[in-house]
């Protein structure tokens, strides 16, 4: 048995063990911590499977931003959890276990009966890579071959932020999201929030730029930029913008907006919706990606900041 196989077996065993523990542990807060560690480890597995783009997204969302949401929710639930002493009955728990096990079994069977080799469009993607001038096949699929899906995904992000904002009370509407964070201006957190963003912003832009030819892209870059913004907000160095701000709303619609304009341009001057002229394919895709990165960064940060809570003037 080679060392690489041994490494894979150990990694898989560790991840499986952590996953089972995260499901079975009774306390929500511990489960959230376990899930964060799980996200970090799954990123390793994706790298091992040569899916580096997925690994980046998993590291950014599963290990980073998702952790903030889960830990925050678990901390908020903690008080109410202690008060509700009643637990689901034995029958309910058995039924839930049986349901979960049967779903897992169906999924396992579905994977096992896949033909070998599995049906794939990968060779077609590789052979058409020259059409866009981009070398990263994932970016090619996301931005050109399945551009429609990516555009609709950005619209979903916008719907998500509308959903979060609609939780605001009438008085707070148009105000600033989340509480005003206070931190010791000479403390560790403020120091980290001054030290990290310059490097983080460069890395975010680098991820966007390198996405054309190597793993990376708008979502990973946007997630890194969002986390840098959140860090500054959480350290109390900056405040969240009021949701009534026009420039903020412009940034939120920039990504899908530019995408839609380019798509309609393809419909008017080219053969189809979202058809890029071959000569300008790369600049157009890069332009859309820059707008999308800004939108993703602003949307992810505001999703985590929460609903408007304070009036804009305070």
């Amino acid at each position: 048995m080679s060392i690489a196989t041994l490494f894979e077996i150990v990694l898989a065993a560790v991840v499986l063990g952590l996953a089972i523990w995260t499901i079975t542990v009774s306390e929500t807060y511990s489960a959230a911590v376990g899930f964060v560690a799980y996200g970090l480890l799954v990123a390793l597995i994706w790298v091992r499977l040569d899916a580096v783009d997925v690994a980046m997204t998993e590291a950014a969302i599963g290990g980073g931003l998702g952790g903030i949401v889960l830990l925050g929710a678990a901390a908020r639930l903690r008080e109410s959890e202690a008060m509700t002493a009643e637990r689901p009955g034995r029958v309910v728990r058995l039924c839930a276990a049986a349901l979960s096990a049967s779903i897992a079994m169906v999924l396992a069977v579905a994977v096992l009966i896949l033909p070998d080799p599995a049906p794939t469009l990968a060779p077609t993607v590789i052979s058409n890579a020259g059409a866009t001038g981009l070398a990263n096949p994932v970016t090619n699929v996301l931005m050109a071959f399945r551009a429609m899906d990516t555009m609709l995904e950005k619209v979903v992000l916008m719907l998500a932020i509308v959903g979060v904002w609609s939780l605001a009370s009438d008085q707070a509407w148009g105000g600033r999201p989340g509480p005003r964070h206070e931190a010791d201006p000479n403390g560790v957190l403020a120091f980290l929030a001054r030290l990290t963003p310059p490097a983080g912003i460069v890395i975010g832009i680098y991820l966007l730029w390198t996405g054309a030819d190597h793993p990376g892209g708008a979502f990973q870059g946007g997630a890194v930029l969002a986390s840098m913004w959140l860090l500054v907000i959480m350290a109390g160095l900056a405040d969240t913008p009021p949701v009534s701000s026009r420039s903020l709303r412009l940034i939120l619609v920039a990504g899908p907006g530019v995408f839609l304009v380019v798509g309609l341009g393809g419909l008017c001057f080219g053969p189809a919706f979202l058809a890029y002229p071959v000569a300008f394919a790369k600049p157009l895709i890069l332009g859309i990606e820059v707008a999308m990165t800004l939108t993703i960064a602003a949307t992810l940060a505001l999703l985590l900041a929460g609903a408007p809570e304070r009036s804009a003037t305070r």
Binding site: F7, V10, V36, L40, L41, L65, A75, A223, M228, M234
Partner: protein, 91 residues
């Protein structure tokens, strides 16, 4: 050289597994969070070594993202759990 690096990956994985034991045992939230941070740091090291061993240079980019974002869970932990830690004392 490759054997040496692979051995180093094995050693870090063993440390990572120890961190996992600490997550499972606890007993306090702070212990679990510190273990999750250890796993994040070990993950960065494994990614850098894997990139060198298997010749996947982009693994370094994943390590960059982990290095930037792995601290965020502990920031959230400190911000949300601060008041509780004050009342409960250490642990």
């Amino acid at each position: 050289m490759t054997e040496f690096l692979t051995g180093a990956v094995g050693l870090i994985l063993a440390i990572l597994a120890l961190g996992l034991v600490s997550i499972l045992r606890g007993p306090g939230d702070a212990d679990r969070m510190m273990a999750a941070q250890l796993i994040g740091t070990a993950g960065i090291a494994v990614l850098l070594l894997l990139g060198a061993v298997t010749g996947v240079p982009t693994a370094v980019d994943v390590a960059l993202i982990l290095a930037l974002l792995a601290t965020f869970a502990s920031i959230a932990f400190v911000k949300k759990g601060l008041s509780r830690l004050d009342t409960d004392g250490p642990g």
